[in-house]
Structure formats: C-alpha cells, structure tokens
Symmetry: D3
Subunit: 309 residues, 6 copies
C-alpha cells in the first residue's frame, strides 16, 4: 500500500504536488487505482485552458487527507499512485487522441482502475477506447449532454461530442447511460435527440430540483446495474459559484454537497474508470475550481474503494 506524505510531518505546501501527495510510479501493474493527468484541451470550442488542469488539481489535492468524511479509507485496501500525465499533442488533435488511448491501454490491461484529471471532455473518448473492451455503462454529471455531432464544418471530435462518438464506436451502451444535471441552453430543439433516441436517461437540472439526490441515485443504480460502468464528472455540473474556472460555465448547477452526496451513493457499483474534466485554471483566480476537482477525484476514489476491497 502507498501512503500520502504525512501532513503532520511534511506540511502540505511542501514537497512534490502529486495527486493526494502519493508516490509517482510508472508501472500500472503496481497499482489498483491509477491516478492520471491528461493535459489536453484541443477539443475545446470556446475558452481553452484545461491543459493546465492536471497540474493545478495536483496542487490543490495537497489539501486532501487520508479518509473521507464518510470514513472511507482508500489507502488501507487499495494500491493507489500517481502515474503522471498521459502524453498528448497540443497542436494535433488526432495524434493526441491516439497517444491518450495508447497510454490507457496498459492500465486497463494491468487491471487497474484509472481516475483521470482532464483536460477537456473530449479526453473521455480516447480513455474509453483504451479501457472499454465491451460497451460500458455511463454515469455522467454535466451541464451539457456532449452528444452533439460536428462543429466548425465537418469536425467530429470536440468536447461537445465525445459521448455521441463513444456510442457510435460501441464503447458505450446508451441503454445504461445516465446524464445528470443537464441545464445549459440549447442551440437547437434537437440537441438531445441523439441521446434520447439511443436510450440515454437524461435527468435535467429542472427534474433534479424536484427530487432528492438519494432518489436520483437510486434510479441511476437501477439503470446501471452490475455491469462495468464509467463515471465522468464534468466540473461544470457544479454551480459556477464553486467552479467558475471552466470553459462553459452555466449558472444553476449542483452544490458541492449535492455532488458529494451523489458520488458517495454510487459505492458498490462495478466502476472501471472515472474522470474529472474541464477544470480550467486560467479562468480560476481563486483556485477553488481546482480544489473542487481534486475533492471530487478523492470522492470518486473513495467510491471505487468499496468495489475494489
């Protein structure tokens, strides 16, 4: 088992800012959970900057301790380490997608569960290409469905389209896909047609407001069942009061308490990977968005702990 640096010996502002102050390792066979950065924002259609996300999330993750507020203690039962950043290419989108996919393949092959800090939402596509041998389920927290088709002419790969591509590539099983918190304004009335037609369950923010987090997650668990499932947490699912540092903020999002409650209630599912994406440090003057991202990564780790024990 790997342990974070002890903050009562080495203060949290000291030392190398790895994820949760865990060791850096190169070999995925040595871990149960691989913490990874993917500093890529080449799929961003508006405000860039998520390429700086992994570094600042690591920085802020110094504030995390060993055990979450629910008493889950991941490092007691799991080997968790920082596997560094996936190689990317900031000026060549297709090369970047290939490099990311290639980085995740050996992680999956080693049986490790990756928890990734993005990067923009397009990175979920090559991650799924790398780890999803069969169509997997999806639990997706987001202000946007990200199932658009093409942008700026005929370009299929952007942070607005990863889940459409993933369905088309048979990486996702849309019948086991749930999107929670959708609330952004739309370009066209048909924006959600693809998702709905293929079977995604979309729980808009308006619906969420009429239910409790517990109730919503109870439905999610029923849809997801026991098959392999991926969790994608777009930081813009949170309200911008807590997460302004993102490319496409939409007011009216989840409070941190709602998000923490929902993620904690996902314990016991068959999670093969997770990510926290769209943290954009240049738009985050207080660092709070990166802190929220780091905290949600830690909560995801705790949620996965249940399964892995």
């Amino acid at each position: 088992m790997y342990e974070p640096l002890d903050a009562a010996l080495v203060p949290r502002f000291a030392g190398v800012p790895s994820f949760f102050r865990l060791p850096f390792l190169n070999d995925p066979t040595l871990v149960d959970v691989a913490l990874v950065g993917v500093p890529f924002d080449g799929g961003t259609t508006n405000r860039a900057g998520t390429r700086h996300g992994p570094r600042e999330i690591r920085n802020q993750s110094s504030l995390m301790r060993r055990i979450n507020a629910n008493g889950v203690s991941p490092y007691d039962s799991l080997r968790v380490a920082d596997l560094g950043d996936a190689p990317i290419n900031p000026i060549n989108l297709l090369d970047a997608l290939a490099k990311i996919e290639a980085f995740f393949k050996p992680i999956a092959a080693a049986g490790a569960v990756p928890i990734t800090a993005g990067g923009d939402h397009l990175i979920t596509l090559p991650i799924l290409r790398g780890i999803a041998s069969h169509p997997v389920g999806l639990i997706h927290f987001d202000a946007h469905s990200d199932t658009n088709d093409k942008y700026f002419g005929d370009n299929p790969y952007t942070h607005g389209s990863p889940f459409r591509r993933a369905v088309e590539e048979n990486l996702l099983d849309p019948k086991r896909a749930v999107q929670i918190g959708i609330r952004g304004s739309y370009y066209h009335e048909s924006d959600l047609d693809f998702a709905r037609a293929t079977g995604f369950r979309i729980i808009t923010m308006e619906e969420f407001c009429t239910r409790s987090p517990a109730d919503v997650i109870s439905e999610v668990r029923e849809i997801i069942g026991t098959h392999p499932t991926y969790i994608s947490f777009d930081i813009d699912s949170l309200d911008p009061s807590i997460a302004v540092g993102t490319g496409t903020p939409e007011i009216g999002g989840f409070t941190a308490r709602e998000a923490q409650t929902m993620v904690r209630k996902l314990r016991g599912l068959n999670i093969i990977g997770a990510d926290v994406v769209e943290v954009s440090p240049p738009f985050d003057p207080s660092g709070l968005t990166a802190l929220a991202g780091a905290t949600m990564m830690f909560e995801l780790l705790c949620t996965i702990t249940a399964k892995a024990k």
Copy 2:
C-alpha cells in the same frame, strides 16, 4: 427574425460581443424586444463600477445559446436585437436621467419591450419615465427595497431611492408592487415604512426561506394580475457566491437555481419591460457576476417570449 451568430461556425470568443450575439440595430420599430445597455452609475452611494456593466454583460452573453433549458426559443417568434447603449452623462446626474428617458420613449412608442442591462438601480427610474404611460406593476428581485428618501443632504436621486421616486411620480402602482429577497441590514427601523405604507408586498429572504419559489411566485402572480408590469432584477438579489461583482453585496441571497425558477414561472404576465442592474465588473475578478447577469437577461427574454407570441 434575427438570429445569433452560429457558435458552431463562429466560435463564441470571436466576433462583436453584442447581447446574445444578435445584430446591432438602431431602429426600435424593427424589433419586438429591444436589448439595451445603460452604462450609468452616477446614483451609486458606495462602490461604483456598474458603468462597465453593459460591456461585460455583452461579453459574457456570448455563452448563451438559442433556447433556454425549459425549451423556450425566443428568436422563433420575436424580433430581438441589440439597440446599443443609451446615451448618458457620467458627471451630470440630471442630464443623464433626461438622456436615458429620452432614449426609451421611442422604444415604448414602437411597441417594443426593452430588456436593459445596467448601470446602477437608479436607471430604472428614467426607464419607467420613458415607458410607463400609466402606473405599472412591479416585480422586484433585490436584497434592498430601494425606497429610501434622501442621501448626503438633500439629494433625491440615488440607487437607493428609485422606487420611492417612481411611486411619487405615479409611474408605479404600489398596490401591484412586490419585492422579493429583501435581506440587507437596515439603517433605521423605519426603512421599509414608505414601501409598506403605500402598499408594496415585501417578501423578505427570511420569509422566502420558509416557502418554495413556486409558492412565492404564485402569490406574486395574484398580486400582479394582468395589467402592465415591469420586472427589475438587481443582481445583488443573488448570493454573492455567484454575484460578488456588485456595489452592495449581502450574503444569504438567492441561489441561481432559485432565481431561474422564479423568473421562469413569471411567463404569461403582461411585461412591458425588464432590467438587470448593479453588475459591477471592477469588483468581479472571475467574470461570474456578468455571466449571471447575462443569463438572467436571457431568462427574462424567454419569460417575455410567452407573452409576446
């Protein structure tokens, strides 16, 4: 019908930042809804800066798309455009009030509904002078009642007094006036006496916390009825976690979700104009307040759409 620039062709960081990326027009007879900026903060008693509000709200309004999360699509049924900024005078308050009034008169004469980005709250007074031929109803979201009398000696015109002046000038019907979210501390126990004596319904934040947004708006609709009504949305009605960039922030305000819910439930009323005021960019390092302002303007537009169709 005018259309926003298509963000899948022209990215949202490109092009002229008009309101919602709509065309700039000069002629109010060409529109059903006139989007206007009033960059005036000469009535501000403490922290100035709302003179920069219209420009930054326009900037952030690039993030809005065509249809709100409730499926309301204003540009399908309404001619909406940016009519630019009202002329003002930053060093001569009375001249500014006259100029603003003169700008709004032809808008009202053309039958267009103005949605205005301030500026401080004093601008509501000359807007009402310009568009209210008879006493109108008022739906007023704010942390403060803004019905004070005089400041700094004998000065009647400040952003703390517009609604008192509007009642005195017979522009507002106080029996059809509702103020929601009042929560600032008071100078004197009598601070709300004028409003209460003349018939305003004041729903304090404390009362709001014991009721649901739906319940509150249901009462509002009953008070307002079907007569012409103006909506004034002071950004400081929102909690400063989402709107710190304002002159007189008061903690404990509306969440964005509460505000969005309330504004959406006002559809179908007889709205003759609306404003979003008190966004002060120099106090808004993250730009979030201007984004909240732009979003509330868009929600107001969607609310008005119902009536105008």
Copy 3:
C-alpha cells in the same frame, strides 16, 4: 451608546475602517461589547495569511448598517466599540499566546463581551484563557474538529488543536460543547476520538444535511443550557463558494443563509464571548470571505444583544 458613522452623510468608502464604523476606544470599561482584532496566524499548519484578517474584515464591515434583517438593533441597548488589535508576536508563538491572553483579561474583568476577528483558530485558546474563569460551554461552527494533538513533532499549539488544549486546561466543559458542520477528510480514523470520548456533541455536515437548521439549533440549546458559553465561528464552516479565502477550505459547507439562520437562533443564551476566525485575505481575491466574516460578526453581535439587554 456609540453609533456607526451615518452612511447617508459619510459614504461607506470614506473614513477610518473600524469595525462597523464604530469609534475606536481603549478602555474596556466603557463598553458592553468589545470588538477586537487578533492578527495572528502563527499556529497555521498550511496556508498562512489570517494575520491580515482583522484589517480586511474591518474594511468590509463598512457595508454593515445598524439593524440586522431580523430587526435586532444592537446599538440601541449596548455600548459597542472597536478596541483595536490585541498585541501579538508574529515570530514567537508562546509570546503571542501570552500577549493575547493578557489583552483579554481586562475585557472580561470589565464585564464586556468580546467579539473577536482572527487570526487563525489557535487564538481561541488564549482568548479562553483570558475570559473563562470556569469551564465554559462551546458552540463551534467549523469544517474541522480542531481537537488534534501534536504537529511537526511535539508541538502542542496549532490551529488544529485549540479545543483539545482548552479541555485539558479546564477552560471548556466538553459535556457542553457542540461542533457543527464537521466535514473535512481525516488523517486517521481516530481523529475525533478525543472529542467524542470527552463528551463533545459532533454534528457532522452529513448529519446536518438530513435535518433543518432550526432542528439542529434546538438540540444545541438543550445541550448548552443557561451556563456561560463561547461561540467560535470558523469561516471555513461556510462553503468555499462564499469563503474561499481561508487556510483549509473544504467544499460542501454551510450556505450563508444556513449560517445566518443558526446564529440568529442562538439568541438568549448566556454568551461570554465569540469569534470569527480563519479569514485569510491573501487567498480572497474578491474580498467576499472578509465580507462574510464581517457579516457573521454582526450577526453574532445581534445574537448577543438579546442577552445583554
């Protein structure tokens, strides 16, 4: 009775920024409530900066008026003034603790109730040494229990340990101590053992989320009873969306409305002192954390008013 500067005569950006624009006094026998700054952060284990807290809280307290939104008007019945900053020593922790204690002793001797702006949470220890002649009750809003033992070897005095020391020194009666909002992650499963073993009632954020503020405070009042009690309000009990400028932010905290509601419901208790700690201006680019701190100080003053009349 002392009165704040009248904001309708002297604008709030003008004049000396004392707490709530009240007079500066040196003699505690002239006041019923003593507003004090303790600009000390020598007990901070991670991000320093709360030494700048008193100055910025005073700055933002210019925004407070005379009467809170509940109609409580402290200056009608209480003599309240700014007694300046306690002397401290930024490079010698033990000397600082002695100086702070010595400053508070005459305040207590004069029968005045101190409301203090920190500084880090360690300052509560010397304040209690100065004012608690017998073990007192504690109402403690915080993300962390602050009952740890030693840091960085054998160092007993940090902002993570004041309440453990206070119990050991017989300043606090742990059977009459309540901690509300605890939610930070833990170093060890035993982190709360001392508090629980000695009798603290810990209401975690998770428990809080299942109850109403009114319900929680009702239990608190029962535990506290009528004996002398101290209130300590760590600004990190608030969600970082409203209070990012603090040394150890934890997402998922109280909304301002929840905090205001709870503090207001404490009226009538036998309060011998209160503090607002951990406001760290260097991490607060918008000034909102200091505003929240100033507002909570004003609410504490209003709560104490009830008793003192």
Copy 4:
C-alpha cells in the same frame, strides 16, 4: 512630534491603517503637515474607482518606515498626522467641490501644509481654492495636461479640466506652471493650446526621454523660483507596469526611480501643498498602485521636510 507605530513592536499588518501609521487628529493647528484623504471620483470621465484610493493608500502606507532612502527624517522636525478624509458627496459634484474647499481652508489657515491622497484629479481644484490665497506655482507630474475645457456638453468640472479652471479662477500662475511626462494621445491638435498660450511649460515624455531627471528638475526649479508652489502627482505619470490601477493608464510612463529622483530633487522649494491622485483600487489587483501612491506621498513629505525645518 508624532511618531508612527513602531513596526518592531506592532507588526505592520496590525493596528489602524492611518497614513504612515501616524495618529489621527482633528485639529490642523496641531500639525505642520496634514495628511488628508479625498475619496471623490465624481469628476471621472471614464473608469471610476478613485473614491477608494485613500483607504487603500493608507493600507499600503503601513509599509513605509520613518526615514527615506536619502536619509530625510520628517518626523524629527515636523508634526505630521492623519487628519482623516475630507467630507465629500458622491452624487452631487458641486456640493462635493464646496465641501472639499471648506475642509482645506482651516488647514491653510493653521499654516499646515496638506499632502492629499485622491480621489480623481478634479480634487486639486477645490484644494487650491482652499489654500491658494494668491496665484501659486505648479509642478505637475502627469500623462495628461488636464487643461481641457468641457465634457459631455457644457460640463466644466471633470478630472480633465482642473488646471484650466484653476488658471481661470486665478488660483494658478501659468507662468510658473510646469507639466512633466505628458504623453497620452490627443483628441485634437489643439488639446495643449490653452496651456501653452497661458504660459505653462510642458515637458513631454518624448522630451524627457532625451534628458536626465536632474536636468529636467533643474529647469523646473528655475521656472518655479521661491514663490509658493503646489505639487500635483498624478499616479498615471508612472508607467502602468507600476501603476495599472488608475482610470486612464498610458503606457510609456516614468519608472518609479525616475519619479523618486525628480521629487527628491525638489527639496527646498516653497511648497504649500501636494497631492497624489488617480489611484483606483478596483483596477489594481496586486495593490501595487496604492503602494506606489503611498511611497510617493512619503517622498513628497520628505521633500517638504527640507523647507519646513
């Protein structure tokens, strides 16, 4: 003699932020030099915010010590204190001008030399009305001549016109007026005609770049002679790299070293007052502009010390 708080006893972040940590006094007869704030920005034609200047300059002035780098020690020979803020009126320009003038009259009557922190540049006009019984000389550091005539129609009083008004009102002797550092772009070719026609010596930045500070000041001293003279230091005379927090920044200004050198070389002149204006804290995220303003005020005090001894 009054002394600043000793920073080796009371750290500079503690205590009331008066100018240079000197006492607050009300009676101008007790001082040789009166430090005054004029928090007024009602004459500002573009970006407001200098109303917050005095408070932030006081804050940053905590960093000043007793003796400047040249060894001038003002508090050994002069009684210097903070006389607080002049009363102003943020929404009534003419009332503000009258109030400011009335505040400075007794200072001049007492024979004290005022050093003022603005506020926008219009405040120099009422200061001169208050203290200049005969036309005085002027040493004016600025990016702009501020001798324009009318703005926004027929408005004579703005921060672009104080020196034209002062000449017209016989407060300034234009034959003994020097403007140094003028470099802003112009509206019209005639922008400097009034100044030049009446006799101002204008040393543009372009000319300055070809000479040394010593050479320039030598000419200034010759023009000014031994008669009473006022020094007005607009913070925008400095390069915005050191003073971005101002309403009308112009790149290409003085370095701090050049400005310090010039002000230091003015010692021995017959200075009846001085000001540092146009520090606008809302546009100063790092606080550096206020620090530059505080430092220049201290240098002006040291320059005046020579005469007063």
Copy 5:
C-alpha cells in the same frame, strides 16, 4: 474618413468596443487600413488563450484617442475601420490557416493595409500567404526568433515556426528580415542557425542594451530599404512587467517607451501590413497587456500613416 466615437460625448466605457471606436465595415475597398482580429491560438505550444486577444484588445483600445503623442493623426488622411474577425477554426489547424489566408486576400487585393490583432504568432504565416505576392521584408519585435522547425513529432505549424515556414514558402526575403529583442533561453545551440544561415539580422536584447533605440532602428531602415515590408510585433518583446498576459513571457524585455520609440521611427517605410500578436487575456488579470497591445496597434497605425498620406 471614418472617425472614432467622440469620448467627450459618448464616454469610453459606452458603446460597441470596436478597434479605436471606429466603425465596423465589411468591405475592404472602403478602407486604406483594415483593422482585423484573428482569434486563433491553435499553434500554441504552451499556455493558450490568445484566441481571446482580439476582443480584449478592442476593449482596451477604447482608451486610445485620435492623435498620438507625436502629433500623428491617422484619421485625417486615411480611411481606417474595423473589419471584424477573420474566420478561424479552433479545432482544426489547417482549416484555420486556409480560412485566415482567404480572409486577407481581398484586403490585399483592395490595396488596403491590414493591421491585425492576434492570436498566436502562427497567424502571421497565413496573413503573409494572403498579402505577400512577392517575398517581403520583415521587421520583427520578439523575445523569440520563431524560426524553429517541428514540434511534438512532425508538426510543422506552430507559433514557434512561422518565419521558417514563411522563408521556405518564399513569402519572406530573409536578407531583408530583422529580429529585435531576442532574449529567451534556447533549447539547442542551433536554435538560431536557420535564421542566421538564411540571412536574418538578429539583434538580441543583449546587443540592444548596448545601443540606443534610434541607433538600432537606423540599422533596421538600412536593411529594409524601400521595398514592401511587414511588421510583426510580438507582445512578449515587451517586458512582462507591462505584458504578463502572454503565452511565453521572458523577463528582461523592452520597456514601453523603447518599443514606442522604435515603432515611431519606422515611419516612411513601405509597410504592407502589421500585426500585434500573443496577447493572452486569461493570463492578464489587470488588462494591462491588452492595453499595451492596443497602444502598439495605434502606434503602428500612426507609423503607417506617414507612408499612406
């Protein structure tokens, strides 16, 4: 002739933020000088964000007046207008290059001189493709030579390589190319080999420090002669004290005064176009970099005025 909005009638914070407050036009045949934005940062190898450059440069250009400090008055003799943003594609580099080139071709065909606000430095390549019918001279202010070859494998198009590509494509005549201010650290000793071998004259910052701006420009004019020449001004040629908001800041750059002096001394040359690139607003908390960019664009316009009259 087109004129900026008159700031004495319409304050500079009001109205549409076009370049220098000039009209927006679509037709290049109507202008002598075309002001253009190219919001593209797809060639950026490290910190992105220059896609937001044109909008913020336009914003800050509101501070420019009609005539520069040297008395050059461009709008008296030239038709100058804002031609909007070139179309780009944020996720497809080659498509973006084609679109930019296509936008500039008709500008050149109309005989108008484009002055462009970037965008990253790669945009100079498609601009030259659009306007350079024969190899042109180059006056290039920069911290970096930008004549590298490939990045991230075999990618030829980045903001580190435009001038190498331009030479290879016969757009630039390296014998008439001067680079001034080069000072960044190097990857390899051979980093400048291509430039030197092909004939560029490189005036490093170290050399610059030993000469005067006038002396340097005198050499530049000799090299450039009377043939068509392009000026490219990378904002990182300025010291980051005045231009921190850029992707690759290097301390030790030009002061604003040095840069203004050099650009002003280029008058009379045969300039076919110019650009100001690498302004990155997300890294520019004070807005000063965009102000410097806007000012340098205005100085370039004044420099070009000489030729065009």
Copy 6:
C-alpha cells in the same frame, strides 16, 4: 548528465513541475548542483506567504529552456537535479532552522553547490550554517540590508536579521560582503551601522543609478576575489513592477535586465551556493514574481556553470 524534459515532446504544461523539469533525486552525491526548495516563512515580520514560493517557482520554471540567452549551457557540463524541499517546521522557528541546516550539510559534504528557492530571507542563515565551514564572501542583491538586530522584543531570528547573525556566527566575512540595491526606507538612522561598521560594502540604489551594472559588478569582483562566496538574491531587489509578490515590496528596484546583466557578469567566481528568496505567491496574482524567481535561479545556475566546468 541529467536533462530537462524536452518541451518539443512533452509540452511545458505537462509533467511534474520540478525545477527546470529536471529529475528529482535524493542523493546529493549524484549532482554538481543541487536545486532545493525551502518552504519556510516563519521569520517574516509582515506579509507571509513565501512558504508557497518553492512550489510556484518550480511551476514557472517550466518556462526555462536548456541554454541561457548568453549561450551558457549548464546541463552539458554539470549534473543538476531537483533535490526536493528541505524539511521545515512552520510553527517552530528554532526547529525549522535546525532542520534546514541539517539538510544542507550533506549537500556541502558531497561537494555539490546548492541553489535554493525560498522561503523568506531568514533561511539564508541555516543554509550558511550548513555549508560555510569558514567565513565566506557574500554578494547580496536586496532592497534591504537585513542586518537588523531584534524584533518584537528579544527575538533575534527574523528575515530582517540573517546577515547580522551570520557575521556574529562567523559564517560571513563582512570584509568580503557586498549589498547592492539597498533602497527601502529606514526605521532609524543607525539601521546600516552594523553593516558598515563591520565592513560590508553597501551600494545603494541611489549610487547604482549613477553607475552602470558593469561598473558595479567590476567593483564587486574586486572585493570578492577568489575565495568562497555565497550569492543571495532577494526578489525584492527587483522593482515590484516585475516582482510584486513579495513580503516587503519597495518601488524603484532593479529592472530585470539590470539584474540579469549583473548576475551574468559574476561568472568565474568561487560560488559555493546561492539562493532566490522572498517570492510570495499569495501576493502574486499574475505569477510573474515566481517567473522572475525561476529565471534568476536559472541565471545563477548559468553563472555557476562557468566555475564548475
């Protein structure tokens, strides 16, 4: 030889932010130059925050390349690596001093030259205790002499006193000590007495302004000679326009070009260690101060390269 990550393969925003992207090593015997962080600010008398310096300097050091602008290429001849942070104790000053000294002893014993990122200036004392077996020379760039005696009573160890202690402890030879750039205001006329009496050569900023950097360094080299010498670079020696993020900024400092020139001219001396101290990230909203710190560390490394080859 160790090499930085290649930025043309791994972009500079990716990967672990070690100093200059070099490997992390634990064993000082493997290096010629040891890059070290000392995240300690317990000696700070005013604004803290330099505990965060090493992390942000590492972050910004990603912008450095392999070879400085003068062509010095340290990694060709020297083994350079990041040895991590010295252990410190944020709440116990004496323990911190002991820990820092203990960390540096084996570095000196291994014959490696440490280049350290602070931390406040007090850290130079334990570094010298660790590495100076005989009294060494000192080249000290600073706005302040840092040879004060006691603070806050009888406390000898602060960031204002390290060089006095070092002389007293026989770590420094004051006859071979030069301080350059001293310009802060003084508490007492005697502030420099100790330094001058013991033999320090103090070159104030005022003197510096009358000489060239080359001239100054020529004198320095004569004083220092060929004996072992330490270089201490306080970031506040730079003008705050380039280095506002520091505890005690003083306007009127070195430009970056002056500082780079001076450090470069120190090549060939017998340097046994160097530091860059007083970078305080919480006061550095743009990150520029940390970039300046990283660049000066790189220049120091290049300067040392000459000797070590």
